[in-house]
Amino acid sequence: MATLHPKLSDEHSQTVVSSTKSVKIKIKRSNPNVNSEERFDDFVVPIEKWTTVLDVLLDVKSHLDHSVGVRYSCRQASCGSCGMKINGKPALACFTKISELNSDTVTVEPMDNFPVVRDLAVSFERMINNHKKVMPYVIRDDSEIDPESGMREFLQSPENVDKYIQFSSCIKCGLCNSACPTMAMDKTFVGPQALAQAYRYIADERDKGKNKRLKVIDESHGIWRCHFAGSCSQVCPKGVDPAMGIQLLRGYLLGIRD
């Protein structure tokens, strides 16, 4: 049943001045550091047509229940902090408008395949470790600092930039790893986020570290675990298309593609 917090129900939202609509938001609550209890708390919040899921959560946090745990930062789909399951599908809360969900009830849960810190906040430690493992930087023996002429550039062609630029848009929000069915079954799988980033650097002509990187991903819990369900690409909010990166990388590993 939808309820307002008894002590705070007299408070009014400061974000709403003309709304006639409202939405019921069901927030999955848990605190694994205290106990294993899980429950859904319901809140009714007024909305406008531009209201995002994050707006609603912050409204709840400000006026109805201050203890709701949610991580966010930029509010413009750039930082990748506010990933969560919205009506069962991983999405950025700041990038999902209530009006586009076509539902009077919105259910928010922490992302799958990540350890829960509290409520909607999950730990990114494993994803970041996998990201670091694929060495997400240009590897070269020489340096951009030239002892004779000072600085120099490692040149690349616009055509080469086109090969990897879409994979550079990754904001490490973790939605792809959350949607991936293989991640759900294999905690040691490198994951679509890291594999797409591996391809981003392997496709970069300036990079000379392909062999080092391929050693990391060419193993039993690496790239061969991907079965191309495509869910990672369907939830990516930045158009990275990790599934494409992974298949291109696999083609490269098989020696079929350049």
Binding site: P32, N33, Q166, F167, A184, F228
Partner: protein, 146 residues
């Protein structure tokens, strides 16, 4: 205490891989590929067991063959035909895609982003494979029940 939602490792994960409807036909194909693979493996083991009866003489062999001459046996074999056709067809689609073909070309993404790897070519292949599996099952049943 670290809790993780959605984790289904081991046998639980093989049998119940997760939500399908939210992620489109590609996820359904992924699930069916897995289930038909398991089904064909089970059939293969059963097939080896059944054919091993030939070593026990003609009478035992004939009796074991009778199992497939019932209505249930025919339906089971029709299912095996369907699993075989889907697994083969979808497997060929996946092999081609996993070599990097038919998944589009990397380029600068424009909003609204549409993943190129999840395209109509792939979807059409999945629907065609499902159709072929259904057709093969129908033909198999028409022959067996004739």
């Amino acid at each position: 205490m670290e809790r993780e939602t959605g984790a289904r490792e081991g046998l639980k994960g093989w049998i119940n891989p997760g939500k399908i409807g939210k992620f489109g036909i590609e996820r359904l194909a992924w699930l069916l590929m897995r289930l038909t693979g398991l089904g064909l493996l089970a059939y293969f083991i059963g097939h080896i067991y059944e054919t091993s009866h030939i070593l026990d003489g003609k009478a035992v062999w004939d009796k074991s063959l009778e199992m497939t001459q019932t209505t249930e046996g025919h339906l089971f074999l029709a299912l095996v035909i369907g699993m075989c056709v889907f697994h083969t067809g979808n497997g060929i689609r996946l092999m081609i895609a996993q070599m990097g073909y038919g998944i589009g070309k990397a380029e600068r993404p424009d909003y609204p982003y549409k993943p190129q790897s999840i395209n109509m070519k792939g979807k059409a292949c999945i629907y065609a494979t499902l159709g072929m599996a259904a057709l093969a099952m129908w033909y198999g049943m028409a022959v067996m029940f004739a």
